[in-house]
Amino acid sequence: MRPFAYQRAADAPSAVAAVAADPRAVFLAGGTNLVDHLKLGVAAPSLVVDVSGLAVDEVEELPDGGLRIGAGTRNSDLAAHPLVRERYPLLSEALLSGASGQLRNVATTGGNLLQRTRCGYFRDTTVPCNKREPGSGCPALTGHNRYHAILGASRECVATHPSDMATALVALDATAVVLGVDGSRRVPVGELHRLPGDDPTRDTVLAHGDLITAVELPAPFGGRSRYRKVRDRASFAFALVSLAAAVRVRDGVIDDLRLVLGGVAHTPWRARHAEDALRGAAPTEGALRAAADAELLDAKALTGNAFKVPLARNALLSVLRDLTDIAPELEEDA
């Protein structure tokens, strides 16, 4: 038994104050990630501040044509919301590809963004892990690293960020609204997560006590979009590689596009090299291949995940072909 205090937050500011005041306090939302970690001993808080009762589960239209999603909105409700399905199908697809129906009914928007890595060593308190115990080592470097990073990793940590929703939100240029002790601020979701560098204990740029109160989506990007998730079984598995893609073609050229890879890095991975290569270009097989290769030029495989490099490349190619209506050329003929 690890005793901890439990508090049901009355409102967002008092929740923030309570957590900020205690370095070992945590927020509890749906609990699908945190409660697992309590049971595994990965999290051992002194105080649990329950924010699931805060009335922050509204999805509202914004004057600029965007959407404001309360951080307490359940994944199922968000995926099924008519405005999301109509204007941001990418987000619905991503949400529905994650976890299971039961989990999505409980998991919240804020909790989903801040879920921690699925690295098995992180979840096992009997083994070293730099993210859990700084300086103890990273067994994933030589151990079981099928699910680990090929981009942006460090010697300290090669874990991946697991959220499908976050990958789609980055592609949608979403912004998190964060309440801290000094008031509210806005953090683009694309800048929320950080690479491990030499401090893998920190998953995000948030400070202790920062509460996500909402996520805002700008007006729809237009064009066509697709969330493609590649995993080890047909459902209920984390992504080996996923891709949130949105492409706008005008007059035969790619006017603009967003490409974000999931399952390959410590953050959702904005494929800027590929985007830059294709923006303004005519969508040809050659251009798509060059773009995918440019993105993966710096990819570094570990002992057990070299396949992720061709997998990410092929995922980029096949989704981009679909979204730009070009027929695949068989590799053999190329």
Binding site: G120, H144, R146, D232, S235, L317
Partner: protein
């Protein structure tokens, strides 16, 4: 020839008689029994794979309110016997990572856990060895189920050298875990009669009683093991494991107090047995038309220093196909790893992946249909023993399956069919499992209150034994099922063999039929109150004259995504020869359950060894994948339904394990047909198709 029952109830589709009880939560599993004033046990497991416990500091645990006992190798009761798996807490040696090195007993599970986590263990660590190296291999004296380690007939090398077509390939099966939904559980009390009362998740009440009696040197009559409902076993509950012994040690030390212990899911990856990883070299030598000249299988498998376990993976190659030159062998490496043990179809499951993959490779090499290759090499007598078959309907299964599946429309060329981005392939493989009946079974039939009480310590591990045995008893007595009161799952009942080796229904059913017939002979059709017969069944002799096996054929349609390598199995059909089927509903669930587990072995299950840490790195059901509903699509199991009169009075063959055999090969063969990529290492994951 055994005198056959006239099937009336037998063969009838019956819902499980215990179904409602289970649905209502009223069927007690081991942990559910109401016991008075229970204590709870939590273990402390080693965090090194090899070495010694140098010191244990349990002062914090001992000082915790509610803790009544801390067990270590210093104070645990001494156990007897030379089975090191049960010699837990006997010495400071650590032989694998996750071995129990201490245990805490407390008044609540929460206190027990917290106290156990406060125990500080200091180790003298030694370098461990957890991966098979050629220089560590040795030849076990025999393999599981008592089969010979090696066989050698004719001259396989010469056949390989001179044959027109050969296959010589290595196949790898992954380390896999049976993870039944009910974790292994022991609720043990040392009673005032100086004996043990144990509620246990067990596939064999009497088998467990025998082990407990030996290990604790308590006469068997003073040990009672109760297990009427068991939430799955798959072999992992076929014999006791270390956890049960630890719980009983605690009970022994705390007379009168029931001690409750359920393994955590993570512990089930190290304390209850698993199927070890194996590499098999398969050699086939054939004429140009596919007629086999030689069959060879050499198995290299991991085992543990604690206890030897050799799966009989080369067995199927000894019996499946005719060929004059045959050689098989099994070699082991004893590693610092958890103790491997039985998991559904030990030997046949890995063996049939290798052999049936190689047969597909041969068919491809010879340019003949894989079904025709098998038909061509159908043996007239059992190639292993030279005995005739009691019955063998492999060819009929293949033909019936081919019709059901639409096999003959298949274009044999690889990569010849696609649906959008998916490459489509069809594959076939044979299934087999021995038809066993165990000795040492006794049943009792008593007439009381106008009803028939039938007693035998059989085990229903979710298979439907409660229902099937009732149906057998009804036909044996010539009465409707609802005049029979069955009692099973308790070592106080007449002795019964294990629910294992797919032998349960045949063994227990034969005992019930024997007792019922003697009862009728003695008391006629109008017995008096309390008339009773207890009948022992003579050991079966059929295996002296006949080879006894069940067979089947499995057909898979596999789709492989050409960009990502994702693999799906939209169709999986099986046709089996399982003799007379006792209850089609429970039989179907055994067969399709086996096939799903075979699909799981083919595509998903992979216990990943971390060589540096010396343990399984994915020990929970989030990371260790099995199929989810979305993976299982059009799944069908059918059977021929031809009774084998030589085996037992029901004419039945076991069905618990055959469903998992051959499935992985059918899927691998279909994947090859789809893609032209031959995957010889399970599981078949998408990376294996990405160049």
């Amino acid at each position: 020839m055994t005198e056959q029952l006239t099937p009336v109830e037998i063969g009838r589709d019956r819902a499980r008689f215990d179904g409602a009880l289970k649905a209502e939560g009223a069927a007690p599993y081991a942990y559910d029994y109401p016991v008075e004033d229970p204590l709870y046990l939590w273990t402390v497991d080693s965090t090194i794979a090899k070495g010694r416990v140098a010191a244990i500091d349990a002062s914090a645990a001992e000082a915790t309110d509610g803790v009544v006992l801390v067990l270590t190798h210093d104070n645990a009761v001494r156990v007897s016997g030379d089975d090191l798996e049960y010699a837990v807490l006997q010495d400071p040696a650590v032989r694998f990572r996750g071995q129990v090195v201490a245990a805490v007993v407390a008044t609540t599970p929460e206190v027990a856990r917290a106290a156990a986590e406060s125990v500080v263990v200091r180790y003298d660590q030694e370098p461990h060895s957890v991966t098979v190296r050629a220089e560590d291999l040795y030849r076990p004296e025999k393999v599981n189920a008592g089969f010979p380690t090696d066989t050698d007939t004719g001259d396989l090398d010469a056949a390989m050298a001179s044959a027109a077509v050969t296959v010589d390939e290595g196949y790898v099966t992954a380390r896999t875990h049976a993870s039944p939904v009910e974790p292994h559980t022991t609720v043990a009390t040392w009673t005032d009669a100086d004996g043990f009362l144990v509620f246990e998740s067990s596939q064999s009440a009497h088998g467990f009683r025998r082990v407990f009696s030996d290990v604790f040197e308590v006469p068997a009559e003073r040990v009672r093991v109760i297990a009427p409902f068991v939430g799955g076993g798959f072999g992992s509950k076929g014999m006791p494991h270390a956890g049960a012994v630890v719980a009983m040690m605690a009970a022994r030390a705390l007379p009168g107090r029931p001690v409750k212990y359920a393994h955590t899911r993570r512990q089930m990856f190290r304390l209850v047995g698993y199927r070890p990883r194996a590499e098999q070299r398969v050699r086939l030598a054939a004429d140009a038309d596919g007629t086999l000249l030689g069959v060879g299988v050499d198995v290299v498998q991991e085992s543990s220093v604690v206890k030897e376990y050799a799966e009989q993976s080369a067995m199927p190659a000894r019996t499946m196909y005719a060929a004059p030159h045959r050689r098989t062998s099994h070699r082991l490496a004893a590693l610092d790893v958890p103790v491997p043990s039985w998991m559904r179809a030990p030997g046949e499951a890995p063996g049939m992946f290798a052999l049936e993959s190689a047969m597909d490779e041969l068919a491809h090499e010879c340019g003949i249909d894989p079904i025709e290759l098998r038909v061509l090499n159908e043996p007239a007598v059992d190639p292993d023993t030279g005995l005739p078959h009691s019955s063998r309907y492999l060819v009929r299964c293949l033909r019936a399956g081919a019709d059901l599946f639409g096999w003959y429309h298949r274009d044999p060329r690889v990569r010849s069919r696609r649906q959008g981005p998916w490459l489509v392939g069809h594959g076939v493989a044979a299934s087999t499992y021995p038809a066993y009946r165990q000795p040492n079974n006794t049943a009792l039939v008593r007439f009381a209150d106008g009803r028939y009480q039938v007693e035998i310590a059989a085990a229903d591990i979710g298979t439907g034994a409660w229902t099937a045995l009732n149906q057998i008893a009804a036909d044996a007595l010539g009465v409707p099922v609802d005049e029979v009161d069955l009692a099973i799952g308790d070592s106080a009942l007449p002795v019964a063999s294990v629910a294992g080796g797919s032998s349960g229904t045949a063994s227990w059913g034969t005992a019930i039929v024997t007792a019922a017939r003697q009862f009728r002979e003695k008391f006629g059709s109008h017995p008096a109150e309390d008339d009773e017969v207890r009948a022992d069944v003579p050991a079966p002799t059929v295996a002296e004259e006949f080879a006894t096996h069940a067979h089947g054929a499995q057909f898979a349609e596999v789709h492989v995504h050409e960009d990502t390598g994702e693999i799906r199995v939209p169709r999986l059909y099986g046709v089996f020869d399982a003799g007379q089927v006792i209850n089609p509903r429970t039989a179907r669930s055994q067969l399709v359950g086996g096939m799903v587990m075979g699909m799981s072995m083919a595509l998903h299950e992979d216990s990943v060894m971390d060589p540096a840490l010396g343990h399984t790195a994915n020990p929970d059901l989030a990371d260790y994948h099995i199929p989810v509903n979305a993976d299982v699509c059009d799944l069908r199991a059918e059977w021929l339904g031809i009774p084998d009169h030589r085996l037992n009075p029901m004419g039945s063959k076991g069905i618990g394990e055959i469903g998992i055999t051959g499935t992985a090969a059918a899927i691998a063969n279909a994947a090859f047909h789809a893609t032209g990529v031959r995957v010889r290492e399970l599981p078949i994951t998408l990376d294996k198709f990405l160049g």
